[in-house]
Amino acid sequence: MATVAARELRDGEVVFVGIGLPNLACNLARATHAPNLVLIYESGAVGAVPERLPVSIGDPALVTGSLMVCGMADVFQCFLQNGRIEVGFLGGAQVDRWGNINTTVIGDYAHPKVRLPGSGGATEIAAHARRTLVMAKLDPRAFPEQVDFLTSPGHRCRGVPRRELGLPGAGPVKVITDKAVLEADPRSGELMLTAVYPGVTPDEVRAGVGWPLMARTTLLGVAPPDGRDLRLLREVLDPKKLFLK
């Protein structure tokens, strides 16, 4: 998943990084095809070059040697709302048919089955990043027809198309899972299967999704990570296997 996400990043882009797999993907891209990637963390570290894998989004390793440290008011107003973030990473307990994400509650808000952490910066990243990449493992409970709670807007929110909501960003352009890649249909905004990992069949993907998943007529194949990528991930970027399973 980290490798697939890394391939989505172009050199020189400004990326709003989350912790875990997104951070691995960004640092893999930096170590390979995108050395000039500018990593911005919501904690206020700009142009971070972490010498160790940050365990939290506010790790001191993100500060030491970074290009700039600014307050969070600047992060959200001058960088994100200003439109300077080209790519934002999102993940969550639920991703629905329209790319909406739930990181708030499973079940009813007042009486939740599971209380999740909440939005953090996800709501505004989903609104303002020029495009977002979603990372989540396939599972029918993780990919319901509709999220229980809409924390981060996708392409259609409670029936209203994204363009009518006045959201500056393009929304989730790709959903990167552990078996396949889903993309939003340009017209309807509905997520469809567009690429599968080696040896994965469309039916295996559909088994992990809670709605009748449409597929693009000609499915692409996702190339597996090459030796260099695997070596970097396993030996350099996450030797303790904190995030690589």
Binding site: V55, F76, T104, H111, G118, H128, T151, G166, P168
Partner: protein, 294 residues
């Protein structure tokens, strides 16, 4: 610390212990627990372990927040038990990070609200009536608003301050400046008390002026298991261990007994963590100074 908390933190107050991952003042949170404050409204972006402990200890009536997890690890289980109806009730008021930052900005500027482009299409305004909207007097477009947050007391941990409370912070600065200016009372807790000459030598580093500070407390290692850039690293092992501790109410209670109620102050807390300072003390990487001459 005991005197500052006794003087400035009262039952029923809205209390903010800020610091985004960096400089979270656990020492103050523990003292508030020891002094058995009740009915507090606890506000901060990321409640973190310290508010999970204060919730478990029964200090909190209400939580105002934007992300309530254990960063990089998992859940805050005392918070989850309360939110999931499996523990003592806890009132929740929830925003996004940007919304909380904006609330502190409005508070610091003493404006009743702050404007932001956010929340369109989300369920947050549906469950939080304080998220409203305003019409732009120039373009006519509708924008989101959040109300000002003006705490009774804000506690800021910092690397250094002088006796008057002129406070310098480097590394992540989060929303500490805004929270301090928004607050009626401010307690600054520092790793190091310095002569005013140290502050005056580099005035651009000063984040909070003494005129906004009610009390200065010197408490080395007061942010552990959070960290202080240039002083000590984050204790990630403890953050990982908190998953198991907080998941079991009995273990959580035992933790509070041993490390909070069971010690009189921070020095005793450190004494119960042999090897801690050696394990986490920061290495030295000092930057060059700049010329303030004219």
């Amino acid at each position: 610390m005991a005197a500052a908390v006794a003087a400035h933190v009262h039952d029923g107050d809205t209390v903010v212990i800020e610091g985004f991952t960096h400089l979270i003042c656990f020492a103050a949170g523990h003292e508030i627990i020891r002094q058995r404050r009740r009915d507090l409204t606890l506000a901060r972006l990321t409640p973190d372990l310290i508010y999970d402990q204060m919730i478990a200890a029964g200090c909190a009536k209400k939580l105002v927040f934007s992300w309530a997890g254990n960063p990089g690890v998992g859940s805050l289980h005392a918070f989850r038990r309360a939110a999931e109806g499996k523990g003592p009730p806890l009132e929740l008021e929830e925003y996004s990070h940007f919304g909380m930052v904006a609330r502190f900005q409005a508070g610091a500027a003493r404006l009743p609200f702050w404007t932001l482009r956010d929340y369109a299409g989300t369920d947050l305004p549906r469950v939080n009536a304080a998220i409203r909207s305003v019409t732009c007097p120039y373009t006519g477009e509708t924008l989101a608003t959040v109300p000002a947050l003006n705490p009774d007391v804000t506690i800021v941990h910092a690397q250094r301050a002088d006796a008057a409370g002129n406070t310098q912070i480097w590394g992540l600065v989060g929303v500490q400046k805004e929270a301090a200016f928004a607050s009626s009372r401010v307690i600054v807790v520092v790793e190091e008390l310095v002569d005013t000459a140290v502050i005056r030598a580099d005035p651009n580093r000063t984040l909070i002026p003494g005129i906004a500070v009610s009390a200065v407390v010197v408490e080395p290692w007061g942010a552990h298991p959070s960290y202080a850039q240039g002083f000590y690293d984050r204790d990630n092992d403890f953050y990982v261990r908190w998953e198991g501790i907080s998941r079991d109410p009995a273990r959580l209670e035992a933790y509070l007994e041993e490390f909070v109620y069971g010690v009189p102050d921070r020095a005793a807390y450190l004494a119960r963590h042999p090897g801690l300072t050696g394990r986490l003390r920061a290495r030295t990487q000092v930057c060059a100074g700049v010329n303030y001459g004219f």
